[in-house]
Subunit: 341 residues, 2 copies
């Protein structure tokens, strides 16, 4: 039987950018892109961690403008496709045009799991420019399988080439992934991708589960570099998929070397699961909630971890940071009542 | 429905000892044991990384004699049981008696997956001394489910209180674990435990798979501290099992604090998956093979990774390090023939 082909999408130079405070230099981007191209990665994604246009006071400034990194990497890539991430509202159509001029061939348009409609125009515009366009649904643990199918169809109808399911907070367990990917597989006619985070130590297992249910594009990063506890560690992912009999096209020894010789020396800290990233995964919330949560915990004399769990229970999403104080207040009230009863 | 109780066995002060070059001080052992006891761990295992009696030129000398660590920890443990590991041939009955006098209540008798018979006397002797005795099968990826059942029955017949399946090289994927644990569950009448290594990034997923198939004792270590790529990270394991509805009895915030405040400051390096540990897991061989493999690779101008894979294919086990040169020689011959054909 022919082996199932799995496309490895590397996002070291995008999600990994979070983990180095957006400090990649042009030389680093060139070296990493060159290495990734040689080992057989299908798509190399390069952008600010929050997508093109993300460099800002809100999301953190890039040391080197991402368009410079894209131009640098472009020169080193011969086989892989060069991709960018775009979050509508953070990045614009103008940013996408510029990325296209600089050689980007793929754009992944990322929206919250329930808001694919804000990405329709970007998918269409990318297709018009001759790009491969991907509908990228974030925080998929917050959406039921049915919601994900509904939203994926919005992207599919807009012309997306594939749909990417992202476990942005690293909250899913393999069964969560299986449920979502298997229904999606039955419901849409374009390929499916999966993007894992390792907050619960399950990035590799969730990626395998996605593949077993029919996903054919899997994200990874060298050494797992990424926001929170990081992504699926690319060299591990490639080795495991190889062991399981899939064809990733990746030179796995080469992947180990790119991770160890090129990426590791650049890292500012090892990509491990600490209390903060574990709590984000456990609660299922964005890392942008941490600072506000610690402040509110101090103010109301609460355990910040209880606040995070409550925020997750209420399915709070990015942009709702102002609600954290309200949640803390109500938790503190409840605590007082319990103490008095 | 009542929640399934899962016993968490912490082996930070045993398998974790490998990762700090057996340098634990009495104070460190006391602090860690005290913390683990408070958060609700069922068994706290303390020994040299290769079990009691392991401190030697072969396996590395302990900075503080393990019996001192055991005595220190004993004073701090009120709820958990204090355990030791014993590899017949490394540790002796005399070592076990001494550990018992110092307060050890549990011994895990560890043998290669096919050699339970060398542990029979130790299990029997431990039971005679009133200890809880565990049959611990190492390198279980090398044994079929049927072999594991056969060997587990040897331990069961000797009086073992439970059987522990260990993925010592971190080579298994969740389906490998399911196959072995499910057949064992049907075949023996005592509880089952599982010990994971994270070389393929699957320690947490494999532990969940074991639990889902009926294992009720799961090993973990704070921050994943352990040989190779380390063990299942205890605080992550507890959080995930809690999310899945199991009763571990662990205070998960407390577990995070013990890992972050007590264990992390002691660590000599972060517990990550690098090329060496990934290759050990991918090939399914012991870490003791590394040095000999690098030497042989240099001598025969081979990629050391090809040698490791071949060693795994031939199911080489600890003690067979002298065969590595032979394997390298035959690989080099083959390479020459291929080049000339």
């Amino acid at each position: 039987m022919e082996k199932q082909k799995i496309n490895i999408v590397d996002t070291t130079l995008r999600d990994g950018s979070h983990a180095v405070s957006h400090s990649f230099t042009t030389k680093e981007a060139e070296d990493i892109a060159e290495g990734l191209d040689k080992i057989g990665v299908s798509i190399i994604e390069i952008s600010h961690g929050d997508g093109i246009g993300g460099s800002s006071i809100n999301y953190g400034f890039s040391k080197v403008p991402e368009m410079e990194l894209i131009k640098g990497a472009r020169k080193k890539i011969n086989n892989a496709k060069l991709g960018v991430l775009l979050l509508p509202g953070v990045g614009t159509i103008e940013d996408l045009e510029e990325a296209r001029r600089n050689g980007a061939e793929v754009v992944r348009v990322a929206t919250h799991v329930s808001e694919a409609d804000i990405g329709i125009q970007h998918i269409k515009y990318a297709k018009k420019m001759g790009m491969k366009a991907v509908g990228f649904l974030m925080m998929c643990h917050m959406g039921s399988s049915e919601l994900i199918v509904e939203q994926a169809k919005i992207f599919e109808d807009s012309g997306a080439d594939y749909i990417n399911v992202a476990d942005s907070a690293g909250h899913m367990v393999p069964d969560d992934v299986r449920e979502r990917i298997s229904l999606l597989k039955k419901s849409i006619n374009i390929p499916i991708g999966f993007h894992a985070h390792n907050n619960l130590g399950l990035a590799i297992a969730n990626s395998i589960a996605a593949v077993e249910e029919g996903a054919t594009y899997i994200d990874g990063t060298c050494r797992g570099l990424g926001a929170g506890a990081g992504n699926a560690q690319l060299e591990v992912l490639a080795a495991v998929l190889n062991r399981l009999g899939y064809d990733t096209g990746i030179d796995i020894y080469g992947a180990m070397d790119v991770a160890e010789d090129i990426v590791e020396p650049i890292m500012q800290r090892p990509q491990v699961i600490n209390t903060a990233s574990l709590m984000l995964g456990y609660a299922g919330v964005y890392s942008s909630f941490l600072l506000h949560t610690y402040r509110a915990a101090e103010k109301f004399k609460l355990n910040p971890r209880d606040i995070l769990v409550e925020l997750g229970r209420r399915k709070m999403v990015g942009g709702q940071e102002d609600m954290i104080v309200d949640v803390a207040f109500s938790l503190a009230q409840k605590k007082k009542e319990t103490a008095h009863s």
